[in-house]
Symmetry: C2
Subunit: 175 residues, 2 copies
């Protein structure tokens, strides 16, 4: 299957969507706080960036409610979900709005920053916004990691081909 390289066509967009369904990614929930208001958004467009400084990046659509909070430089947290957190991902993907996204899950406040983090996430990385790069409909937020919470065995929730999965079975088989 091929699409020509000329203008952006419906065929190219469709090919891009099909290709992205094949790019497996861990599901994370990005969280932030502005005063008494907490924000949460499930995402899969998140990756490690560098170890010096320890940093990660996340791509956020400008239409997301958490976008202006991050764009104002508020601290945030990347919570790497476990295989048992599918319902939390669903709530934070649009199933719930605002504070309702925190109705399920063991959410705590990071003691230094007050940013909410999920206590039993695979990993939670509390970050300061160190750099922002805007591109089209999205902002790329670079977080300098300030604190790491780890919990449990390695058992990430993975999004692939439009559905949730986990790599625990396959990982164990090759261990």
């Amino acid at each position: 299957m091929m699409q020509g390289s000329e203008a952006i066509s419906a065929e190219l967009i469709n090919g891009m969507k099909q290709a992205m369904r094949r790019l497996a990614a861990s599901v994370v929930v990005a969280t932030a706080r502005d005063g008494d208001t907490r924000y949460a958004m499930a995402a899969s467009a998140c990756t490690s960036l560098s170890m010096d400084p320890p940093s990660i990046l996340i791509c956020v659509n400008k239409s997301a409610s958490i976008y202006p909070i991050l764009n104002h430089g508020k601290d945030f947290c990347i919570n790497v979900l476990s295989g048992s957190h599918e319902a939390i991902s669903a709530a934070c993907s649009g199933g719930q709005k605002g504070e309702g996204r925190f109705a399920i899950g063991d959410w705590r406040d990071d003691p230094d920053t007050n940013v909410p983090y999920l206590r039993d996430a695979q990993a939670s990385l509390v970050c300061s916004v160190d750099d922002i790069h805007h591109y089209g409909t999205h902002g790329i937020f670079i977080g300098k990691v300030k604190r790491v919470h780890l919990h449990g065995d390695v058992y990430p929730l993975v999004y692939i081909d439009g559905r949730y999965s986990s790599v625990i079975e396959a990982a164990k088989a090759s261990a």
Copy 2:
């Protein structure tokens, strides 16, 4: 397990490394060409960015041989490896150098750009460099997708907890 938020400590770096082992990611090989010289680099720090325009990003260490090629704005390709491509990933992760990285695998040249792509990759996305953002030791390269090649069923090679895996078994189980 927690690390303090003061200076960057060895403990924070270790926590970051442990956290990143928990962030499952598809393995891709980024390729590019400069005249007769081909470049390939396995990576997991690659994510979709936006659909308008169709775009992806990849984080590349400045020490990588492909870095200056991308930094000069040469077209590149993101090849999303399948579960059968573990040896190709190993070759392109440092097991081989230069042209030796193309010794295994069915590599072709994209007809429009001459950029090498892996014929049986899950997906290959031929991109122009649309934007570059430098951060510390790394460059973040934003590719505007010009052409998409798809191949085979959804069966990505995933890197998790320091080893290769695939999500095929788990994905089938939940289908």
